[in-house]
């Protein structure tokens, strides 16, 4: 440790003015957890209303506000910032850099988030209520037919985009410029690789989303007709623009999760990651393909058949690199020496459930079949298998894996495993039956449903409540660890862990790698 350096400032100003990647990472993580709880509360309201047929708790208009805010808060408030937090904490420590390349911008990209979500949540109390056109906010429901809060919503999206772009530029600059000598690209841990690619995706598509909401703004306030046929525009244009952002967005969410499990599975298999190179190439091909498949969300809008075929073939193709990844993880476990601490449990949970989500994705990619699946609960099941069991499970795994490194204290393993098993059971109970009701014909985004769907919906709600409650256990475990966990001082924490972040002392000091570490050339990536 360089002794000329001070520790953190005291009090609130430490957090307000900090440029330290660890502080900022911590703030991102806590913020995203708060959003996870908020978005989760909305989900509980949705599932409570759907517990039985008939309207019991909320009015249909409010129900739509709940589904919309739930989606927006989870995607933009919980999942994305959580991985940015992880990137802040880990990327410098993994590539042997002292901090992020653009620390002041880093501070700003975090601090514009909380006011934005406050504003978004406050639309609930505005006249006409919060936005209610779904997280995909299709025009003209979200323009001509929207309440006044849509303007605030557009502003929020702009700021979120700004934050994401700044965060991504920072990550790109850091990875490209601040690697320790000897840390070549093909030696970088996979988490760094996946984030680097994700950051490029973000920089490419967030401006498209910004363009999309700007066109909405013009239609709402300045008399244009981008999305209105009456004025020469086209409502379908909205969907093309939105999904040109939207499909890469789903990979923005999942690629860092791929990175996380690619670190954790080898650690608890005590065996290097199988097929590192192909992992990198697979990630890059997924990223590339994600730009040319967007219209698979629009099979029913009435595209010409040639377009339909193109998007079907391209989408099917994504299954190939995705499959490569799954095979690599499984082969990493093969003939390893496995142990099942909480991070590994969550990673295996990820592997199993994400694979199921990938299979349903493949089913959805078949355009003629998708006519029957589209906009039903089958799609809802699909994307919760990839986003919750994918992104959120991997995030839980990451917290259990690196928390001891960050704070020098070990979490309670029994509680961690309990959290996993309750989450796993609750999740599957909540979302597996949704495949059934979707196939049987239940559309998504409805506050009430036919009696035939009642039993599975009740099961689903029970599962959702179980999953929701299990997160309280998680919160408790994390706080208990930080406050009073059993101290650990071994730099490695886990015997199988590999990588630069495990060479620094535990708990990780406020400043790390002020002098670049020596990279052992024989020792490839983690």
């Amino acid at each position: 440790m360089g002794d000329h350096h001070h520790g953190p400032a005291k009090g609130l100003s430490r957090w307000l003015f900090t440029t330290n990647h660890k502080d900022i990472g911590t703030m991102y993580l806590w913020f995203s957890f708060a959003m996870f709880i908020l978005g989760g509360t909305f989900a509980m309201i949705i599932r409570a209303e759907l517990f039985q047929p008939g309207l019991q708790l909320v009015e249909p208009a409010f129900f739509n506000q709940m589904t919309t805010l739930h989606g927006l808060v989870m995607v933009f408030g919980a999942i994305m910032p959580s991985f940015v937090g992880l990137a802040n904490w880990l990327i410098p420590m993994m590539i042997g850099a002292p901090d992020m390349a653009l620390p002041r911008m880093n501070n700003w990209s975090f601090w514009i988030l909380p006011p934005t979500f406050l504003l978004l949540a406050s639309t609930l109390f505005m006249e006409g209520g919060a936005p209610a056109a779904g997280w995909t906010f299709y025009a003209p429901l979200s323009t001509t037919y929207a309440g006044p809060s849509v303007t605030f919503f557009i502003f929020c999206i702009h700021v979120l985009g700004l934050s994401s772009i700044m965060g991504s530029i920072n990550i790109i600059a850091t990875v490209m410029n601040m690697r320790a000598p000897g840390m070549t690209y093909m030696k970088m841990p996979l988490f760094v690789w996946t984030w680097l690619i994700t950051a490029f995706l973000l920089v490419a598509v967030m401006p498209v989303l910004a363009g999309c909401v700007t066109m909405m703004l013009m239609d709402v306030h300045f008399g244009t007709s981008f999305f209105s046929a009456a004025g020469g525009g086209d409502p379908v244009l909205f969907q093309h623009v939105f999904w040109f952002f939207g499909h890469p967005e789903v990979y923005i969410i999942i690629l860092p999760a791929f990175g996380v499990v690619s670190q954790i599975i080898p650690a608890f298999s005590r065996k290097p990651l199988f097929g590192y190179d192909s992992m990198v190439y697979a990630t890059a091909s997924i990223a590339f393909l994600s730009f040319i498949v967007w219209a698979h969300h629009m099979y029913t809008v009435g595209m010409p058949v040639a377009g339909e075929l193109f998007f079907m073939y391209a989408t099917m193709l994504i299954a190939v690199p995705t499959g490569v990844k799954v095979f690599n993880w499984v082969t990493t476990m093969w003939r390893g020496s496995l142990s099942f601490e909480t991070p590994m449990l969550f990673s295996i949970g990820f592997l199993v459930l994400f694979t199921i989500g990938g299979f349903t994705g493949l089913m959805l990619s078949i355009a003629p079949s998708d006519f029957q699946y589209h906009d039903t609960y089958f799609v809802v099941a699909h994307f919760h298998y990839v986003m919750v069991a994918g992104a959120v499970f991997s995030m839980s795994a990451a917290i259990y894996f690196w928390l001891p490194k960050w704070c020098g204290r070990m979490y309670n393993e029994t509680m961690g495993k309990t959290h996993f098993w309750i989450s796993f059971v609750g999740f599957n109970l909540a979302f597996f039956p949704q495949h059934f009701v979707g196939l049987a014909g239940m559309p998504r985004r409805i506050p009430d449903y036919a009696l035939q769907f009642a039993d599975f919906n009740m099961l689903s709600s029970i599962g959702a409540f179980i999953y929701g409650l299990s997160q309280i256990l998680f919160l408790y475990n994390v706080i208990a660890t930080i406050v009073a966990g059993k101290p650990v001082s071994d730099p490695k924490v886990w015997d199988g862990a590999e990588g630069l972040e495990w060479t620094i002392p535990t708990p990780a000091p406020y400043h790390t790698f002020e002098t670049p570490p020596k990279i052992d050339p024989a020792h490839a990536h983690s």
Binding site: P53, G54, L55, Q56, P60, N64, A132, Y138, P140, L141, Y145, A229, D234, P235, V236, R270, K271, P272, L273, F274, G275, Y276, S278, T300, V305, M312, Y313, M316, A319, T331, T332, W334, R335, G336, S337, V352, T355, I356, F359, M363, I366, P368, S369, F371, Q372, H374, F436, L439, A440, M442, P443, R444, R445, I446, D448, Y449, A450, L451, Q452, F456
Partner: protein
């Protein structure tokens, strides 16, 4: 007057009701159904086969992957003394598991392509129906070269009391309408699908048709149903508050029954047009108005005009005030409230009758009447 309307209705629906109850089954989701329904069309069956094919492919791959994984989990555990080996790549294996899935996908793409081409083959339809999505109901218009175009709206029939849990829910809760679409069996029917306000999506699972209804554009879809019966579906694209409450019901009947039904509907349409030109007495209007009220307004305004979801009509300043504003609300609704614009749903005779009824029932003794021509003039502005 009311008697006449009822008779016309019975006449129109008689054969359909008889047929459907006698021969045909009611389709729609089954209780706790877990899989896609093969449906009642050839295309639907092909789609179902594709669905099952890809499902089994995924299942087999899944069993393989999870089998290997669980084998490691069971036999390669540290607690059992497993020692980790250190292999970390194998070009051969990696090429294999890139190429094999690719080949499987090609195998999938072939049948998927041919089914898709069939779905898109809208030519040579024997019957064209224009389907228009409204917030929150469907309008059907039978386009015929000879004779009258038949047009009607199809609304949710489930009463608010069932939705609000004050009355037990019926068998077809939320999947029932006041007037179903009727089409002939074994006939290629083409749907021209559009919308009036926001995007909706017309979906009947067993007809294997789901197509977005987009304002300003017309989409095409087709079906040829091979089994008579009653098929149920719902709007599949979020379209605002009552998106969950705009079901679709399709009666598929024999060609004869269809011909008869259509003929009756055309007679009915002609009769209504004739009525439009007439002048009615207060009693006639009241009689007809009572029926229309019960059908279209009662759910929200109450059997005695006492109100509910809608405001009270008894003693309402609108219903006891000038005619103009009252007609205006009846025809154009109250934007931003549950009070929809009924101008496009009720014909001018019915509108005149129901407004007259509201002004003279429930103790609102205004004594005035509205004639169809007044409604017509109001609509023209």
């Amino acid at each position: 007057m009311c008697f006449e309307a009822k008779r016309l209705l019975k006449l129109a629906l008689g054969p359909v009701l008889m047929l459907t109850s006698a021969v045909a089954l009611a389709y729609g989701p089954e209780v706790n159904q877990v899989n896609m329904a093969p449906g009642a069309t050839d295309v639907g069956e092909q789609i179902y086969d594709l669905h099952m094919l890809i499902f089994w492919i995924c299942t087999i791959i899944g069993l393989g992957v999870f089998g290997v994984m669980f084998y490691s989990i069971i036999y390669h555990r540290k607690s059992k003394g497993a020692v980790a080996s250190h292999f970390h790549e194998s070009t051969k294996v990696e090429i294999a598991w890139t190429v094999v899935p690719f080949l499987i996908l090609i195998g999938m793409a072939v049948p998927a392509t041919s089914t898709l081409l069939e779905v898109y083959d809208n030519d040579d339809a024997e019957l064209d129906i224009l389907v228009t999505g409204y917030q929150w109901k469907w309008k059907y218009e039978y386009i015929s070269e000879d004779g009258e175009n038949v047009t009607f709206f199809s609304n949710l029939r489930t009463p608010q009391s069932e939705i609000r849990n004050t009355q037990p829910k019926g068998e077809h809760y939320l999947l029932e309408v006041d007037e179903p679409l009727v089409i002939p069996v074994n006939t290629k029917v083409r749907f021209l699908i559009t919308a009036n306000d926001v995007i909706h999506s017309w979906w009947v699972p067993e007809l294997a048709v789901k197509r977005d209804a987009i304002p300003g554009f017309i989409n095409e879809a087709w079906t040829r149903v091979t089994t008579e019966g009653v098929y149920r579906g719902q709007c599949a694209e979020l379209c605002g508050k009552d998106h969950g409450f705009m079901p679709i019901v399709v009666n598929v009947v024999s060609s004869e029954a269809y011909g008869q039904w259509l003929g009756d509907k055309q007679v009915e349409a002609a009769a209504i047009r004739e009525l439009m030109a007439q002048t009615f007495t207060l009693d006639q209007l009241m009689e007809r108005g009572e029926g229309v009220y019960a059908r279209a307004c009662l759910a929200c305004h109450g059997a005695n005009g006492e109100g509910g979801v809608g405001k009270a009509i008894a003693g309402s300043p609108i219903a006891t005030g000038d005619v103009g504003p009252h007609l205006e609300i009846g025809i154009n609704g109250v934007p931003g409230s549950a009070m929809q614009a009924f101008g496009g749903q009720l014909n001018d005779v019915d509108m005149a009758a129901v407004i007259t009824y509201q002004r003279n029932a429930f103790g609102n003794n205004m004594g005035d009447m509205i004639q169809p021509i007044d409604v017509y003039n109001h609509k023209k502005g």
